[in-house]
Symmetry: C2
Amino acid sequence: MSKLISSIKEAVELCGIKDGMTVSFHHHMRNGDKVLNMVMEVIAEKGIKDITVNASSIFDCHEPLIGYMKDGVVTGIECGYMGAKVGRAVSRGMLKNPAVFRTHGGRASDMIKRTSHVDVAFVAAPSADCMGNCTGKYGKSACGSMGYAFADAQTADKVVVITDNLRPYPLPGFSIPEVYVDYVVEVDEIGDPKGIVSGTTQITRDPVGLRIAQYAAEVIEASGLLKDGFSFQTGAGGATLAAAKYVKEKMLAGGIKGSFGMGGITGYMVDMLNEGCFESLIDVQCFDLKAIESINNDPRHMEVSAEQYAGVSGRSAAVDSLDVVLLGATQVDTDFNVNVHTDSNGYIMGGSGGHSDTAAGAKLAIILAPLVRARLPLITDRCHCISTPGSTVDVVVTQRGIAVNTSIEKNRQLEEALKAKGLPVVDIKELKAIGEKITGVPKPINQGDKVIAKVLYRDGTLLDEIHQVAGE
Amino acid sequence: MSKLISSIKEAVELCGIKDGMTVSFHHHMRNGDKVLNMVMEVIAEKGIKDITVNASSIFDCHEPLIGYMKDGVVTGIECGYMGAKVGRAVSRGMLKNPAVFRTHGGRASDMIKRTSHVDVAFVAAPSADCMGNCTGKYGKSACGSMGYAFADAQTADKVVVITDNLRPYPLPGFSIPEVYVDYVVEVDEIGDPKGIVSGTTQITRDPVGLRIAQYAAEVIEASGLLKDGFSFQTGAGGATLAAAKYVKEKMLAGGIKGSFGMGGITGYMVDMLNEGCFESLIDVQCFDLKAIESINNDPRHMEVSAEQYAGVSGRSAAVDSLDVVLLGATQVDTDFNVNVHTDSNGYIMGGSGGHSDTAAGAKLAIILAPLVRARLPLITDRCHCISTPGSTVDVVVTQRGIAVNTSIEKNRQLEEALKAKGLPVVDIKELKAIGEKITGVPKPINQGDKVIAKVLYRDGTLLDEIHQVAGE
């Protein structure tokens, strides 16, 4: 018995993909992913229309989607993040139905709660056997964790594993078990290694970024959370990595033994594990080669599903045990709402990912961002799109000052502690004024009436809508 | 946030356990299990009645169930295996409702298909954290794999983890993730180490057993399956272990590289892995200390859920890829049906466990049993209870002859090969006659009208019924 079939075409046929269906993908191949494009090419060739693509994230490498949107092959996109290329096309109204944004946790939980239905899930697997046991931990296209693909595999009507490293049964260290898999297809290459991972993640050298990072580390220290058992999530951005460096220095200097680091994992977090800052890593996605090597070799470095990382459908998720998360922003408003979906012109160029999941779960959610970017101020009266509600954001750190969200009771003590440390605590409205003094008040975005995207919160409720960008 | 509560009593209260509910347990603590008894004692003390106990297996250590059956606290038992002590009480009609036997795969699959509902699952966890991530791989009560507990955790309305080794969050190498767990209770001891595992598993020295084992190894060789990629399951019984020894010798002598060993795993299978006979082990339950050490340290030794091991609810299970399984029997009939549920007097003293799952999945299912036991013949016209249908049994090996089930087309070639090798191939009816010549024809079991147990096949359909033993 074997589930191995000859081609993606055969998979599309055997799964009975037809007009109006939803197909899903995960983004561990990141900007090197070839699977989404290969599958959609077959679907388009077969003349199938009105497909909804549910991908955990859409990257610029998925640009062919724009053509499929024009042709009516793709009429819906659901995702946690959408890169600028496809985002711009959606923002211009080229997608028939409004795109649906979910958080990484919410995407998995909506599938598990059956409020999001996938007809056929395609799993890009760096190693797999003929029965569909698969893992991302090794193989020429190794991506490490496959956390975002678990819910797709668990819940889709049909599941197709696509691999470029077919191994003998049973696959050692499988992540997704054969019980979920209908078909296995072998291809030459599921991804371009250059796009899957960056070689190393770099800490910023920009003095503004370093200043922000230093302030963020001071905020963490002042919060009282930086003690034995400390848990921490940070992304792969230069400033947040720099903040991690300062946190690490404080931990090593103070002999602080943290519990876990989490998130998309970088080599920097692996170093912190190996230097004794953490007991373990919780990993839903690997950002670089060092992280991939670590998850494949170190049992303390644990792969988790998106539901276990950040969902709301389980009895708990790891974000519920998180002390501190460092997050970015394209905009913050005076109610501490954060926008990571659209750029300054209103075009989609991102998405929540785990942003609002971790902000909601962490005891302390810190936004790090420069006060001015591309001659536009960070802080505004109302975010163009609310990605993460202000009620879950504790502190905004800029190079010109730190604003604490004291509408959350527990943060008043933190604000006092920051002031006592001599840090530049500034009211968010004042911070807005400082920014606008530099840049002037930006002119409003010229947006149309048409809703081109809906932003769902992690519990599946509507958080915001994004309108078409007009007049270009 | 923590799910840690003070006691099993608090768990029973918080879960709202009340008359008529079903509670579930798993049997990795084997005859050393203390969790089932601790929980049922609390339920009984609270005056709750009419409880159905769904345990993957019932051992003699669960004798207190007999008292609860008398008192009406327990009115139903569902399991994959039932030891002689509780089995005798059930056979005497002491349980109000018929007991329900499932296979290990069928039990998990019925839960996942929602044809078997559990209100509250209790998971005996040798290590756990305060959010319910848990594993059996280490801790003072280490049991290795917790494969039978996965379906309970995935599907029960409420899940309580009971541990005697509470560790910091997040638990490294967790098997069951926090997403499924409602409450965590710390107790002094979840099991008696002496009962959880045997120190080592012993190969039989009995000449009859060795003869049977030798024949079985010859049958495997004659089948043509003993070649590179060979996969194999055997139990912990003395004769099947001896057969494994002969198989191992043939593999080492022939330079045969098998793919996987499976099952309840013994140290003997671990040795075969380490000596290069297998690439990996698929483990739903560990039988001894060496197996536990191996699953904790060797990534080739993989824990699987009961569904992945042997279920029918997934798209495939590991048994579907199995070449050869060696199985025992208390009775075999002339249609090759096998009984492993009742003893020669009709009393329940066992159950299918994975017997009929592996027989159905394996390319070659071999029954090993002495032709005469306790002055009664192995082979009969009709098994007192059909545990495994003859249509899935290929060969019966006794010390006095080998019977091949040639009603299965593919076995005719095997029969010829055995004859060509000079092995004592005997028609099953002739084998019956040989046995009866030694023992005489046994007198029929004195059974009553009342059905005291239903035996479900792995797909959930009724396979047989067991009647009360009368007249004592």
